[in-house]
């Protein structure tokens, strides 16, 4: 698992180029792997780094695009379930390739109560590192990761196209983390 971590991460990114992933396993970063650190803008002049949250669980929600015109989207639901995530002292970071100004307007409109990060330049770089980038359409996949207090991926999930995964998988994964601490 630990061997050649860097190389394997790079390969996970390459797998996504061109051909269909092999076998049943999905190409996203699997449980047991160290989550690559990143630093992305949450506002025009503020960056958020994954390592800032070491010591507490982090939920990463990669999603294709801001402004999906449905009655409720995945992130609106998460904003409502946020108090439940907080019971596990977990932080939620949403990530897409939209630019920061779009994110700000989107977060305000949907009343999102967590950082929405912009994987904009170089486009999709961080999404790729998690194996969660769709090269042909240039968007992040709808992929979820629960990362533990030591920065290790403990659960990951890639949704089929068009299926909003809801919040249940995240809550189950948080419950299974060792010693969830009350805040």
């Amino acid at each position: 698992m630990q061997r050649n971590r860097r190389k394997r991460t790079a390969r996970a990114g390459k797998q996504n180029v061109g051909k269909k992933a092999e076998g049943k396993s999905s190409s996203i970063l699997n449980p047991g792997r160290k989550a690559p650190n990143f630093s992305l803008n949450s506002t025009p002049d503020q960056k958020v780094s994954l390592k800032d949250f070491r010591g507490q669980p982090v939920i990463l929600a990669f999603y294709p695009a801001d402004w999906s015109p449905v009655c409720t989207d995945q992130l609106s639901l998460y904003a409502m379930v946020m108090p439940e995530f907080k019971k596990f002292n977990a932080e939620l970071l949403a990530i897409s390739v939209d630019n920061i100004w779009s994110h700000l307007a989107f977060a305000k409109d949907r009343k999102l109560n967590f950082p929405v990060l912009s994987d904009f330049e170089p486009k999709g770089k961080i999404s790729r590192q998690f194996g969660a980038f769709k090269e042909k359409i240039g968007e992040s996949a709808r992929a979820l990761f629960v990362i533990d207090q030591d920065g290790i991926v403990r659960w990951s999930h890639l949704s089929p196209d068009g299926v909003n995964p809801g919040a249940e998988g995240i809550l189950s994964a948080l419950e299974q983390l060792n010693a969830p601490k009350a805040q």
Binding site: Q15, N16, V17, G18, K20, A21, K24, S26, S27, I28, S68, P69, V70, C71, T72, D73, Q74, S76, L77, A79, M80, V81, E84, R110, K111, G131, A132, F133, K134, E135, K136, I137, A141, A143, L158, S159, P160, D161, G162, V163, N164, P165, G166, A167, E168, L171
Partner: protein, 208 residues
Amino acid sequence: MRLFRTMSTTTATRHSRRPKKTLLEPTSKETYDAPKLVVPVDPNRDHVQGDPKAVLTLVEYGDYQCPFCGAAYPEVKKVQKELGSKLRFVFRNFPLTNIHEFAMTAAETAEAAGAQGKFWEMHDFLYEHQATLGDNSVALGYAKRLGLDAQRFEREIAQHVQEKRIKDDFMGGVRSGVNGTPTFYVNGVRHDGPAETDALVESLRTKS
């Protein structure tokens, strides 16, 4: 406004047998298990329409202010008509209060009517008068026409007597994989197809 359905249709296509070359990466598993209802139907607690012992069960998690739920409302009526006594229909609350400012009060309104035995009447009224949500006098007028104790009705809404029940519905829905409104469960399994009569009836018949 119909994009949600369009997305559902896409999903159905994706999981059909037809071998499909997807152009997208990463490639996820081609099939997935639809989430299951983790809070079983309890006729002592739930609002159940139809024979409580019917062989088929349709559960809806809905929001009175959601336009998609409003569109699904007549579809459910048609499903009920088509399946008759074979079907029981259960409605649970899933108010999306961060985007629908009147959803919580509307849910409390239906539950307050329910406390006096008129849940379904108010449920139907709210869906048939979605445009009036936000003007509480409209539902109050209807409550009076139904012969409800208006003082008690108004007091229960104002004091949020039903709030806990509604929040319990919501969290039970989250744990069952509700991912938007309306979300339907057909015999305990999430229905990811369109919220339309034919699709619901077919799903009910095949999953029985």
